[in-house]
């Protein structure tokens, strides 16, 4: 049994209550959502908050709803809920693809989208997914609510715009017609963090031309979308040559580190290979949703 440093614990009863508790207990207090990132770090004594504010009773943050042209996901929505949602499968298959390979069922039953995004682990999959889908994050604090793009929200490894006394409340994803998406990850074992992963979201116009594309990479040292790909792909009809070019650009854009998961050149190779695969898959899926186009 791995034993964390001493801490105090309190359960929040509402979002306002949670914010008040964060304020009251100050700098060394942390909220715990699914606990699947925070508790392992505490057990290894890498994190040592004085206070844990449990937000698992905030059922009002556990929802998934299609609201006109936006999908709204409450911060306490569990991985499993995302994985099993038919709306998501239909609208954003990239989320379903990613959730299938995030951890294992035990972790997915507890871990939340809010915790994942706030943890901002460089190998974390949903951050890439949200970048690629151009999601907005709704953050609430003592001064009220603000809405941030992923670029503003996600500041780098383990760093977000959420202040100590704020909560991530909701994630909003714009729904676009003629669009689809895909995610693929290489892992050493089911449940392992990514060696590398890539996600893509594509919109096709009625002529089958790429009108919008976003590509993101996980675990290879890039905290933003591979914007280089967008410049080259938009306005083109999807072809194998184009996918190859997208892969090449992705492998150039990333900046991986060597570790037990693999050397740098392998990770660069994966950025290339997986980018090709996900752009291809996203284009195919988008084309299938705009039924007259085939590629």
């Amino acid at each position: 049994m791995q034993i964390p440093a001493p801490f105090d614990y309190v359960r929040a009863s509402s979002v306002d209550n949670a914010l008040a508790l964060l304020d009251r207990h100050g700098a060394e207090s942390r909220v715990v959502a699914g606990g699947h990132s925070l508790l392992p770090m505490m057990k290894l004594r890498l994190a040592r908050p004085d206070w844990l504010i449990d937000i698992n009773d905030l059922f009002e943050l556990d929802y998934l709803l299609v609201d006109k042209d936006v999908l709204r996901i409450g911060a306490m929505t569990r991985h499993t809920t995302l994985l099993e949602s038919d709306d998501i499968k239909r609208l954003f298959p990239i989320i379903t693809d990613a959730e299938r390979v995030i951890a294992d069922p035990i972790v997915r039953n507890r871990g939340t989208i809010g915790g994942s995004l706030c943890q901002a682990d460089p190998a974390e999959d949903l951050s890439t997914v949200c970048h690629v889908l151009e999601a907005m994050a709704v953050v609430r604090g003592p001064a009220g609510e603000r809405m941030l793009s992923m670029a503003d929200f996600h500041r780098g490894p383990y760093e977000t715009a959420v202040a100590q006394n704020e909560l991530l409340i909701e994630v909003r994803i714009p729904i676009r017609t003629g669009s689809s998406s895909a995610y693929e990850k290489v892992e050493r074992r089911v449940g392992d963090w990514a060696v590398a992963a890539a996600g893509a979201s594509v919109s096709l116009d009625s002529a089958g031309t790429i009108s919008r594309v976003a590509v993101g990479l996980t675990a290879v040292g890039l905290d933003r979308n591979v914007t280089e790909v967008e410049a080259v792909l938009v306005g083109q009809a999807p072809t194998e040559e184009l996918f190859t070019e997208a892969g090449r650009l992705a492998s150039l854009a990333c900046d991986p580190l060597a570790d037990q998961r693999g050397p740098i050149d392998y990770k660069r190779h994966l950025a290339d290979e997986l980018t090709r695969r996900v752009v291809r898959a996203a284009c195919r899926r988008a084309a299938a949703s705009v039924s007259e186009i085939t590629i």
Binding site: M1, Q2, I3, A5, P6, P40, L44, D104, V186, R188, R189, V190, G191, D192, W193, V195, Q260, R261, G262, P263, Y266, H269, L270, E273, L274, R277
Partner: protein
């Protein structure tokens, strides 16, 4: 409440799910395990019990400058802080290892591996004990470490074991087997010789339950009760008596339910000793249970063999000879567990299943700044390394000769009529009939069809591989004339008592860590005396309750203890004959046995069941001269030889050419373990071992960085396989009984762990053949496979 007897019979269990004797039946121990009612060391709570925690070294090699425990002692819940110098004063700072070396219980002079034990805190609860570790101030003077075994013998290498008198290098032993001159001569004149360096990386048994102990020393009568995660309670008790000075009759070692051992729980770890010292110092029971990182970083690792393999053959594929030199990384203390005579275990079985003209091996053991251990992880005393070497070499030879690897093996097997077979390194294989086993596995796999599919796929650029391994195991150590551990002969005892009502208790010296002893051993007795296994209680794991014996490892329980149990049951059966004769007023030689009963020859209606005889023995029947009034017996079994189970494994993998990811698509395992006592338990053992094998082949690896930091200290970094990585196992069997074992059984516990890694690696290498890959070392992670595809295979050390 449902009790065992109420369980519905399981149709999948086959026809014999309630056998009186051998056959498929559900495990007697499972109702408690599946209900969460197992009772493990950590479940033990004694009145007034305190908790211990170990401070471990953060670096691999450092001189200990000072330890300041003042602050830790000031913690309100801390009762004691024990350091190396405290132990030194008691003469307990160093303890003997199972390989005639010594190991520091707590560091006195120098840290020799990262994670080594530095101090022990005893506190009122676990949390306080752990918190207090942070209050101990230690100053280290960091030294350059020896991490790479290849550099351990370099002239300028730091000397790790300067504690040993006169020690000037990191050399531990040189050992050899076979005939060098003869082997060299065969090699010199062979048509074909292939050589390959093959590394079996350091892996860890990683049992689900980590190691731990509860020590309870009674200061009034000087009695020590030690609850421990141990696979060998009797051997531990004797060693504790020898080391601590507490007389053996005052020590009771109890090994309750054990959550997996795989060799990890054979040795005596500093934590056990510290729990005892803690209890003596405080006068209270002390519990110590390590966490996962402690288990992975400090307890017995496995393998870590760098093997230079050479194989010689004629050009038409007759294998002539094998030669190898091995560099063995033993870590900071030589603490491997194996019979004294064999510092490299049974590695010299590396001639495998083939009839060779000559063979020779040398093994050199060295110290490095890594955790000690060595023989662990279901390896049958290094047969794992041996089988991996020969089965890889045979595949490499097949590639060189452009022969099918199945064909090459079939051509070179030891023939049925050659058994008992004396190999070139001193073993006598008891029995074998390899070809039918190999053919059965090929038939189950649809071997020719698989090769056709592979050919088609290759043309399309898809990577599919088929890997074969044919192994011969060497288990059931062992004959006392050859085998002992620290002077204790490797025999096992058994005691059987039939109670007056015909129910029985059998007491055995080996301890189960998941092997199903409570069922298998009851079935062995049931087969011999004809009472149902449900009526036979198996008692084990408590030195006060059981006869002496060396414990469970090296797949020795069935070959040794199983033999003891069969023989003790036969002894009881013979005794029953005399008592039955008295009861029936006839002569013993006029009685005939049928399962469960003696009856009068020619008049089957007149007889006595075992239950009737037991009641007679304890009743008022006038007993014949020399027969005392019970139906009990005991034996100690000294095996005449080891047993040699074998098997043929075929693995099919698909490799993603873009990512290097390996998927094990199929795995066919045909095992021959001689007489099969409970086929369901056998299959369970095989499923577990195959999963282990896939884990080692694809992902398991305890890696170190240049500074000697262990990079495998958690399950995030040390990967073990899950159900998702393994296919539906396809198992089959043949039966070639052991001629010298009372019931012909050979042992199955480690066959699959030993046999499966080469099958998986052979399949991966076969899949990569289009890239010219001839060999790659484990673990075949996506990155390493991709590197191999780029022509950049690299050893894992």
């Amino acid at each position: 409440m449902t009790i065992l007897e109420d369980r519905p019979s399981n149709p999948a269990a086959g026809d014999h799910d309630r056998p009186v004797g051998h056959g498929r039946m559900q495990r007697k121990e499972d109702p408690r395990f599946v209900r969460g009612k197992g009772h493990y060391v950590d479940d033990i709570v004694l009145p007034g019990m305190l908790h211990g925690a170990i401070l471990r070294a953060p670096v691999a090699h450092a001189r200990l400058v000072s330890i300041d425990t003042t602050e830790a002692l000031a913690h309100p819940k801390v009762l004691a802080v024990i350091t190396g110098s405290d132990l030194q004063a008691l003469g307990l700072a160093w303890a003997p290892t199972l390989s005639m070396d010594v190991q520091a219980v707590l560091v006195t002079d120098k840290v020799r591996f990262q994670g080594q034990e530095v101090a022990f805190v005893v506190a009122e609860d676990r949390y306080a004990a752990r918190d207090a570790l942070e209050l101990i101030q230690v100053e280290y003077d960091v030294l350059p470490p020896v991490v790479d075994a290849r550099k351990a013998m370099d002239p300028g290498a730091p000397v790790i074991r300067d504690d040993l008198e006169g020690r000037t290098d990191n050399h531990i032993f040189d050992w050899e087997a076979g005939n060098k001159a003869e082997t060299d001569a065969v090699f010199a004149s062979a048509d074909v010789v292939v050589t390959q360096e093959i590394v079996y990386p350091r892996v860890h048994p990683a049992p689900m339950e980590t190691c731990g102990a509860v020590a309870d020393f009674d200061p009034i009568d000087g009695r020590l009760t030690l609850y421990e995660t141990t696979q060998a309670p009797h051997a531990h008790r004797t060693l504790f008596a020898m080391v601590s000075g507490i007389p053996e009759h005052k020590i009771r070692v109890v090994s309750p339910d054990i959550g997996g051992g795989f060799g990890n729980k054979v040795g005596i770890y500093p934590g056990y000793i510290l729990a005892v010292v803690g209890s003596i110092v405080t006068g209270k029971p002390v519990k110590w249970v390590e966490d996962r990182s402690e288990n992975l970083m400090s307890t017995s690792f496995a393998r870590d063999y760098i093997m230079q393999g050479e194989i010689a053959a004629t050009k038409d594929g007759k294998i002539l000879a094998l030669r190898t030199s091995v560099l063995a990384d033993h870590g900071a203390f030589n603490a491997t567990a194996q019979p004294t005579k064999y510092p490299a275990g049974f590695f010299h079985i590396f001639t495998g299943s083939y009839d060779l003209a000559a063979a020779h091996c040398t093994v050199t053991g060295v110290y490095t700044n890594k955790a000690p251990g060595g023989v662990a992880y279901a390896c049958s005393f290094r047969v794992t390394e041996a089988v991996y070497l020969v089965e890889r070499m045979v595949d490499i030879l097949a590639r060189k000769l452009e022969m099918d690897p199945a064909e090459l093996r079939l051509k070179n097997f030891i023939k049925k009529e050659q058994f008992p077979y004396a190999n070139k390194t001193g073993w006598e294989y008891d029995s074998g009939d390899y070809e039918p086993t190999m053919r059965l596995s090929m038939k189950m796999a649809g071997y020719d069809e698989l090769r056709r599919e592979q050919k088609e796929k290759r043309e399309r650029g898809e990577l599919m591989g088929i890997g074969i391994s044919f192994f011969t195991e060497t288990v059931g150590a062992g004959p006392r004339k050859d085998m002992d551990i620290l002077g204790l002969g490797m025999a096992d005892g058994a005691e059987l008592r039939i109670h007056p009502t015909g129910k029985a208790v059998v007491r055995i010296s080996v301890q189960s860590q998941g092997q199903g002893h409570e069922t298998t051993f009851a079935q062995i007795v049931a087969e011999e005396i004809g009472i149902p296994p449900e009526d036979i209680d198996v008692v084990h794991g408590d030195t006060d309750q059981t006869p002496f014996g060396l414990g469970t490892y090296g797949s020795r329980s069935t070959p040794v203890s199983g033999a003891a149990v069969a023989l003790v049951a036969r002894k009881v059966r013979e005794k029953a004959r005399f008592i039955a004769a008295a009861m029936l007023e006839t002569r013993p030689e006029d009685l005939e046995w049928e399962k469960g009963r003696w009856f009068v020859k020619g008049d089957p209606s007149v007889g006595k069941t075992i239950a009737e005889i037991a009641m007679g023995a304890h009743g008022t029947v006038a007993l014949p001269e020399g027969i005392d009034g019970n139906l009990d017996a005991e034996v100690t079994y000294d095996p005449p030889n080891l047993t040699f189970p074998f098997g043929a494994y075929i693995c099919v993998v698909d490799v993603d050419p873009g990512t290097g990811h390996v998927k094990v698509r199929r795995f066919i395992a045909v095992d021959d373990c001689g007489t099969r006592i409970n086929p369901m338990i056998i299959e369970g053992q095989i499923h577990g071992g195959l999963t282990d094998g896939v884990g080692m082949a694809l992902m398991e690896f305890i890696e170190f960085d240049q500074e000697g930091n262990c990079l495998g200290g958690s399950f995030m970094d040390y990967l073990i396989p899950t159900a998702m990585e393994v296919p539906d196992w396809e198992t089959g069997f043949t039966v070639t009984p052991s001629p010298h074992h009372p019931i012909g059984a050979k042992g199955i516990g480690e066959s699959a762990t030993v046999g499966s890694p080469p099958a998986v690696v052979n399949a991966v290498v076969d899949a990569l053949a289009p890239f010219g890959v001839v060999h790659m070392d484990m673990p075949c992670t996506p990155a390493r496979v991709w590197e191999a595809m780029q022509g950049r295979t690299r050893p894992p050390v």
